[in-house]
């Protein structure tokens, strides 16, 4: 069995690799922080558009967080881009639904909007107390607990009687968590919004510039995104207010496709 014992040289290599990995992670974190600080500084100097670009760069690099999205929303809001701010706040709320700052700014931005908004129903508000990732963790933990308990009982069948209460509790917990996760996932999947990002947008009956005008929507108006064709997006603001807008005039929001 001596051949399985780690050789000193291998141990050194592993330690070196771990140290290099840690160093890279630290440097990356410092770099992210530096970019974030730089964008914050631009915001404090009143250069809101530049600050927004800085935050967006972080997001594009896969370094998004609720704070980055929240600050991006603030930068857009201060730049007068209410629609883009609403989208950023909604994305921040998807990651941190209980953050009172995010909730307050989203509400504040919506109050500035002239036009329709998509507000959640009571059950959606209840589900929204946790983010989809939190629901995923909860369901994952519930599945782990249930299966590990079952695994333990395979090894110790004699404990079955005494562990009945724990099994029932784990089953109920797993069912509730999985039910909540399923509902949250279905809700996220069904939430497809197009937020107007230009001061005034003409919504047309068809996906052509010559199509007759259906209605007019204003910056920040939240419309349901129902279809897409070429560079046009079909939106609806109610059962009888359906039309098409150019994709460049809206920001699309889908909780499952935020990247």
């Amino acid at each position: 069995m001596s051949h399985l014992r780690p050789q000193p040289r291998c141990l050194w290599r592993a330690l070196l690799a771990a140290w290099i990995g840690l160093l890279c992670a630290t440097l990356t974190a410092r770099c992210q922080n530096a970019d974030f600080e730089a964008a914050n500084r631009l915001y404090e100097q009143g250069q809101f558009a530049e600050a927004a670009a800085g935050y967006q760069k972080l997001i594009d690099a896969g370094q998004a967080s609720a704070a980055v999205l929240f600050n991006l929303g603030n930068a857009w809001f201060k730049s007068g881009k209410i629609g883009r701010a609403v989208v950023a706040y909604r994305q921040a709320a998807s990651l941190a639904p209980r953050d009172p700052d995010v909730v307050a700014n989203l509400q504040f931005a919506r109050n500035q909007v002239h036009g329709p908004r998509v507000l959640p129903a009571a059950w959606q508000r209840w589900l929204g107390k946790l983010s989809l990732n939190e629901w995923s963790w909860l369901a994952g933990i519930a599945v782990w607990v249930w299966f590990l308990l079952q695994t333990l009982l395979q090894f110790r069948p004699a404990w079955k009687r005494s562990a009945r209460g724990a099994v029932i509790a784990a089953t109920v917990f797993a069912l509730l968590a999985l039910g909540g996760f399923t509902a949250a996932f279905a809700d996220a999947r069904a939430t497809r919004l197009a937020v107007i990002v230009e001061p005034e947008v003409v919504v047309r009956h068809g996906p052509l510039p010559e199509s007759p005008i259906a209605f007019t929507a204003y910056d920040g108006a939240e419309l349901r995104w129902t279809d897409q064709k070429d560079d046009w997006v079909q939106v609806s603001a109610g059962p009888r207010r359906i039309g098409w807008v150019q994709k460049s005039q809206v920001a699309l929001f889908h909780p499952l496709k935020m990247s």
């Binding site: 967080s65 307050a104 700014n105 996932f185």
Partner: protein, 600 residues
């Protein structure tokens, strides 16, 4: 022949008549163009039909009546008529317009021009007089001569500015009115008032004078905006009533039983209704004893407040719920703003829950999140709400005492300095700006949800695999427990595995006695397991007694016999070298393996 001549003469006459008629048709009469109204005098709320009639030809373009202030003119459609008079065919085409006035007064529709058959024709100007509808006299109402009328009922004639009162517009219909449709409130002059959304109330009956009327109440919330002697109304409306036809067939038999119109016979009648104007005195709110925090609420209200949690760490949010219940203009109520020094304040949200159709009674719920910034905060400030009670004609102030708080010093979760500073000067108007940016980046990562990340899905597979592995292990364990032969087989396999290792060790140590004793033990274990006999009962004799009868091949029995012999010899002459012992091990190993093939 005379009959044929007669028929021929008849046909000749017929064709001559046709030719004359056609010739007459081609000789067109002079074209004319006239305009007419079906009535020259109507009551506001009614409509008249303007007919543009062309005879003797069709116009190139139908002239559109010009835009006349306060007169809506809408095209209805054409109608045509052909006539044959004295062999001459004439056609008349009429284009109809519906004319609806919006105000009472005299209107003139100017002369219209059209080109017909190359001829420019013109009409005469038309005049239309629109009268204000007038309410019927009380005597007419009492006598039952009115088929329908409106009444404007105000609960009191003296109201305060800001006070909202429920006004009833009663639509009274005589008993024989069988249906009503297209009801439209055409006007309700209400200068100095704000009139809310109209709600239909419960239909009832009322005895007015000698007549019994069916009453449809239409409720309107009316809020006084300015002080003075104001007038509400008169309200005017139009409706289409379904009333018994004047020339219907009456059946005395059914009339005797109270069913005069069992056989039908109704007609629709357009009516214009008007109510009397109601004078109202609106009073200004008294300046005396007006509380400093009074913000215009008029009505009767109660205040309640809850806050939670009250035992918390600095930086944690507290949800303050304020309920204002009562009667008045609830939708315009605003949250009383106490002094929020020491708190970070978020914009309040509100929800209105009304209990009556007009929305004048109910509860308005306010919810506000505040965050104590330091542990020095000891209580929520007291809430006070002032309103004017129009019934008692006094100002009232409701207050809720300060809610004590137990705030512990916070750790890293304290409010960022920038955000706190920004709100420090905005305690009175928390919703004037967005909350400031965050200073910490927090946990960064991809925006892709966890459920789409392969590592997360893989992680979820682990407990399932563990469970499946455990289930398989348990099944095998149970199988083993229920099968003693299998259990012994595995036990023997383990003994042989260990025994072979011991043989190598004994060979290396040149311990031939221990070596062959182990060989005998291994053979006993293997043969005992195969023959289902105790290992101690196995001797060389089993070769002849049990193995050979079972048909075990000779090439297996011979080396087995030799090995037993060798073991016996060595007991008495234990002189073997280490090399010789080592050379024996593969043979023993092979023999034990082949013995495993012996059928039990």
């Amino acid at each position: 022949m005379p009959r044929r001549a007669f028929i021929r003469a008849r046909f000749a006459g017929f064709w001559a008549a046709v030719l004359v008629a056609l010739a007459a048709a081609f000789v067109a009469p002079a074209a004319t163009f006239t305009a007419s109204l079906d009535r020259n005098q109507i009551v506001l709320g009614e409509s008249v039909t303007l007919a543009l009639t062309f005879s003797g030809g069709n116009p190139q373009d139908v002239p559109n009546p010009p835009d006349i202030p306060n007169l809506d003119i809408a095209y209805i459609g054409p109608s045509s008529q052909f006539s044959l008079i004295q062999g001459r065919v004439s056609s008349i085409v009429t284009h109809n317009f519906q004319v609806t006035p919006r105000q009472a007064g005299d209107y003139t529709i100017p002369a219209l021009r059209a080109t017909v058959g190359g001829q420019l024709l013109s009409t005469q100007p038309l005049t239309l007089r629109v009268l204000k509808p007038s309410a019927p006299t009380p005597e007419a109402m009492a006598s039952g001569s009115q088929v329908a009328f409106l009444r404007l009922v105000v609960p009191k004639t003296e109201i305060f500015v800001g006070e909202t009162v429920p006004v009833q517009l009663q639509l009274c219909l005589r008993r024989e009115v069988q249906g009503i449709s297209n009801f439209q409130l055409t006007s309700l002059p209400a200068e100095g008032f704000l009139v809310g959304k109209m709600v239909q109330g419960q239909r009832g009956q009322a005895q007015i004078g000698n007549a019994l009327y069916s009453v449809i109440p239409l409720l309107l919330p009316v809020k006084a905006l300015s002080a003075g002697n104001l007038t509400l109304g008169p309200a005017t409306a139009s409706a289409l009533l379904e009333v018994p036809s004047a020339n219907r067939r009456r059946d005395p038999f059914f009339e005797r039983f109270g069913f005069p119109d069992l056989l039908g016979g109704t007609e629709q009648k357009q009516v214009v209704l008007a109510s009397e104007a109601v004078p109202l005195q609106t009073l200004p709110l008294p300046a005396q004893n007006r509380p400093a925090n009074f913000n215009g609420a008029v009505g009767t209200f109660t205040l309640s407040l809850t806050a939670s949690p009250t035992n918390l760490t600095a930086g944690d949010p507290i949800t303050v719920k304020v309920q204002i219940s009562g009667r008045g203009a609830l939708d315009t109520l605003t949250l009383p703003e106490p002094s929020w020094a020491g708190f970070k304040v978020y914009p309040a949200t509100s929800k209105l829950d009304t209990t009556d159709a007009l929305g004048l009674e109910g509860t308005k719920y306010f919810e506000q999140v505040v965050v104590p910034e330091t542990a020095s905060v000891q209580a929520l400030p007291s809430f006070t709400f002032s309103f004017f009670d129009p019934e008692q004609k006094v100002y009232r102030t409701l207050s809720h005492p300060p809610v004590p708080l137990l705030v512990r010093p916070g750790g890293s979760a304290s409010v960022p300095a920038l955000a706190a500073d920004r709100h420090a000067g905005q305690n009175q108007s928390p919703a004037q700006d967005i909350v400031h940016i965050k200073q910490r980046i927090g946990a960064v990562g991809q925006l892709q949800p966890l459920v789409f990340r392969p590592w997360f899905l893989g992680l979820q597979a682990l407990p399932v695999l563990a469970f499946l592995g455990a289930a398989v292990w348990r099944r095998r364990t149970e199988q083993l427990a229920n099968n003693p032969r299998l259990r012994r087989q595995r036990h023997v396999a383990r003994i042989i595995r260990d025994g072979l290792a011991e043989l190598r060790r004994f060979a290396a140590a040149n311990d031939s006695e221990a070596f062959f004793a182990t060989v005998v033990r291994l053979l006993q274990e293997r043969l005992g397991e195969r023959l289902d006999a105790p290992a101690s009962a196995i001797t060389e004799a089993v070769i002849e007694e049990k193995l050979r009868p079972r048909g075990v091949p000779e090439e297996l029995l011979t080396p087995l016999h030799d090995l037993f012999q060798l073991c016996n010899q060595v007991r008495y002459a234990p002189l073997k070298t280490s090399q010789e012992l080592s050379a024996l091990i593969p043979q023993i190993e092979s023999l034990l393996a082949r013995l495993e093939e012996v059928k039990p």
